[in-house]
């Protein structure tokens, strides 16, 4: 039935395109805009973001830590000229911290001053928390729900309801609804399996580690002191490190840190391989991993202090 109904409209489809489609940038514009934000997105990210914007659905982004999930939301907010509203999830996060809270001390003062009870729930007593703020801003906001896998399943169920309708009911005030939904980016590090109902409501994208070529571009853009040859060598080393059995494989964020560290050391007069070895702590955050990498990878094996 669904197929029949939609197929009727498939090619003469101007009317099924969402009403927002006019002011949504095209995929090409998105790609260029993100590049200007120094975010190097591949086809998958561009398609996912475009569809999330046009179809008005939340985008669930998963990937290893440090591949740029949070950065994506930040760059998008900048690019679209919208406010970034961030909700960092943690175990025990509850509705009061995510939605709204009343300013009780002020209410109490007001009661003692003899105000009418009805006035106690005026705007001046309402403290906005991220979700209410996002609903009120509507399509002027990018809502980033960060590391949703850290929250407990109670909160996830609550979020489900919120993402369905983009509305919040305040018993004393009535229902607040977003006319146009905000762009919602949900990130997860996969430490916990999310509920199926939650995943069903979201677009899904997995951000892999970038290809060598893209990672070189990223290094060049974020660590200005590094030239093409150095970036190539760094990326080769990082690829080799990622192929090892490690406790934590380094993401792009760590690669950038490492590139910056190496370039700072080189400017101080350290030899190249020595600088790589010395700043390895920026790439790998576990002593076991550092030992494994030094033992396995040729470039890193030169003893500290050694010079070419």
């Amino acid at each position: 039935m669904v197929w029949l109904a939609v197929s009727m409209a498939l090619y003469n489809c101007d009317h099924i395109a969402s009403p927002m489609a006019d002011d949504v940038p095209s995929p090409e514009q998105l790609r260029e805009g993100l590049l200007r934000q120094r975010y190097f997105a591949d086809d998958g990210i561009i398609t996912a973001v475009y569809l999330a914007l046009v179809l008005g659905r939340p985008l669930l982004v998963e990937g290893e830590p440090g591949v740029g999930k949070t950065e994506l939301a930040r760059s998008l907010a900048e690019l679209l000229g919208r406010e970034l509203v961030r909700l960092q999830c943690y175990e025990g996060l509850d509705a009061a911290q995510a939605l709204y809270e009343w300013n009780y001390p002020r209410q109490l003062l007001s009661v003692r001053a003899g105000d009418q009870v009805g006035n106690l729930y005026a705007d001046e007593f309402l403290l906005e928390r991220p979700l209410l703020r996002a609903v009120r801003s509507g399509d002027r906001a990018v809502l980033l729900i960060d590391e949703v896998d850290r929250s407990d399943s109670e909160f996830e169920a609550f979020l489900l309801e919120f993402l369905d309708a983009f509305q919040i009911t305040i018993p004393e005030r009535g229902t607040v609804r977003a006319d146009k939904p905000p762009l919602v980016i949900v990130t997860s590090n996969r430490t916990r399996e999310l509920h199926d109902a939650f995943k069903r409501r979201c677009m899904y994208h997995w951000i892999p580690f970038p290809e060598p070529e893209r990672e070189r571009e990223i290094i060049r853009a974020h660590a200005p002191g590094v030239d093409e040859a150095a970036a190539r060598a760094l990326v080769e080393a990082v690829m080799a490190v990622r192929s090892l059995r490690l406790v934590k494989r380094p993401g792009t964020a760590e690669t950038i840190d490492w590139a910056r560290g190496v370039s700072a050391l080189v400017q101080q007069g350290h030899a190249w391989p020595d600088a790589l070895r010395r700043s390895l702590g920026l790439l790998l955050k576990e002593q076991d991993d550092v030992e494994t990498a030094v033992a396995e990878i040729q470039v890193l094996r030169i003893a500290p202090g050694g010079r070419l």
Binding site: V2, W3, V6, S7, A9, L10, Y11, C13, I16, A17, S18, A21, P27, D42, D43, G44, I46, T47, A48, Y50, L51, V54, L55, R57, E62, E64, Y90, E91, G92, D94, W102, Y104, P105, L108, V111, R112, G114, V117, D149, D152, N189, R190, T191, R192, E193, D196, K199, R200, R201, C202, M203, Y204, H205, W206, P208, F209, E211, R245, V247, D288
Partner: protein
């Protein structure tokens, strides 16, 4: 002319529908909403290269990383010849050749990113003895011991403070909402303070049960104990390991112990096989979802520690487990013997990282071991050598 165009459209829609049906057959079952999203995406993007169609389909239809592999193969089967059965709209440039190649490269790079974990379990199958588990019905005496174990678990398990604040008689935070509503009733006067506090709850428990041949005598009771654990502790995970690692929490969540053990037969295929503790633990630690179960948890390992593989791998894995968890306690059937010393190479390397090493060979000794947990909780970490030495000197 018009009807011809209609026919082409109809064919295209049928092809897309066939694709989604094939996906469902391959285990990627998109709900109705996802299918609608997919069609709208196709209508909006009007993809004219396989790469564009690939991403439009993947973003809308796939729900998790695990589904990507199946999705890729179905997609390749339906659109792999590079022909997109959708006529490009007039005025669009012809598809770029590089686009499709780039799309595929991205897709295959992803396989590499996760490939390590996927193939980790398959290598073992060469000399793996597959046999399923069948345990005799639980006797009345054993059921009584299980009830005792459940009582002991609910009394003795370590607790932690929950993350959420709940209304309480005394607490660390004022419950302003309740204070205020009470004050509203008494004309703005605060008569009594109300509090919120973080209540105590049982700490997370992770139980790893060795089901290899050397433990044939005790693995039935071990799994019965695991059933009692799952029934008593709200946040716990149980895995079995021999030559492979299997999560059995869900199978154990049945009410009756024998029904739960019967359910295990379908999933635990390495009963009475060899032991590769190190490999199984490494597999456990390689997945962030598993390590989340160990973080800040009480980890119980039920095994004799007789490692057939590389003892170094086992030692490294236990070391990491000790860093992740709240306490690591090793329950070994061998340690029921008073003269037991952890002298095998594997155990000798591991013992320094453990918080306790106790002899557990049946349900009665398991109950005793549970009763010991508060002492382990109170003592310093990594204190096994000391306790073992005191046994020694007697």
């Amino acid at each position: 002319m018009r009807t011809a165009a209609r026919q082409v459209e109809h064919l295209a829609v049928e092809h897309l529908q066939g694709f989604v049906t094939a996906l469902a057959r391959a285990g990627v079952v998109p709900g109705v909403q996802k299918q609608v999203d997919f069609l709208r995406a196709v209508a909006l993007l009007r993809p004219c290269s396989p790469s564009e169609l690939y991403w439009a389909a993947r973003v809308t239809l796939v729900r998790a990383l695990e589904e990507v592999e199946a999705f890729d193969s179905v997609f390749a089967a339906w659109f792999g010849d590079g022909l997109v059965p959708l006529a490009p709209p007039v005025g669009r440039p012809a598809p770029r050749l590089t686009a499709s190649r780039r799309g595929r490269v991205v897709a295959s790079a992803e396989g590499d990113a996760t490939g390590r974990r996927k193939d980790a379990g398959h290598e073992a199958s060469v000399d793996e003895v597959r046999s399923s588990c069948a345990f005799p019905a639980t006797s009345i005496a054993r059921r009584r011991l299980l009830a005792e174990a459940e009582a002991a678990l609910s009394e003795e398990l370590p607790t932690e403070r929950a993350r959420r604040h709940r209304p309480a008689r005394h607490g660390e935070r004022l419950d302003l909402r309740r204070v205020l509503s009470a004050a509203g009733r008494s004309g703005g006067e605060v008569v009594r303070l109300q509090w919120r506090d973080r209540l105590l709850r049982p700490r997370r428990v992770l139980l790893l049960v060795d089901v290899s041949a050397s433990l044939r005598q005790s693995s039935g009771d071990a799994l019965r104990f695991a059933h009692a654990l799952v029934r008593t502790v709200p946040r716990c995970e149980v895995y079995t390991f021999g030559t492979r690692l299997t999560r059995v929490t869900r199978q154990l969540a049945k009410r009756d112990v024998d029904a739960a053990l019967d359910g295990l037969a379908d999933v635990v295929l390495d009963v009475n096989g060899g032991t590769r503790i190190g490999r199984a633990l490494e597999e456990f630690l390689a997945d962030a979802r598993h390590t989340a179960a160990a973080r800040d948890a009480l980890v119980l390992i039920l095994s004799d520690g007789l490692e057939r593989g590389d003892p170094g791998a086992m030692a490294a894995a236990v070391k990491r487990l000790a860093r992740l968890s709240h306490r690591v306690v090793w329950w070994s059937p061998l340690a029921c013997d008073v003269s037991y010393q952890p002298l095998t190479r594997g155990m000798a390397e591991v013992v320094g990282d453990l918080d306790d090493l106790v002899g557990v060979c049946d349900l009665a000794s398991a109950v005793d071991a549970v009763r010991r947990l508060p002492a382990v909780e109170a003592g310093p970490r990594r204190s096994v050598p000391a306790t073992r030495l005191t046994v020694d000197t007697k």
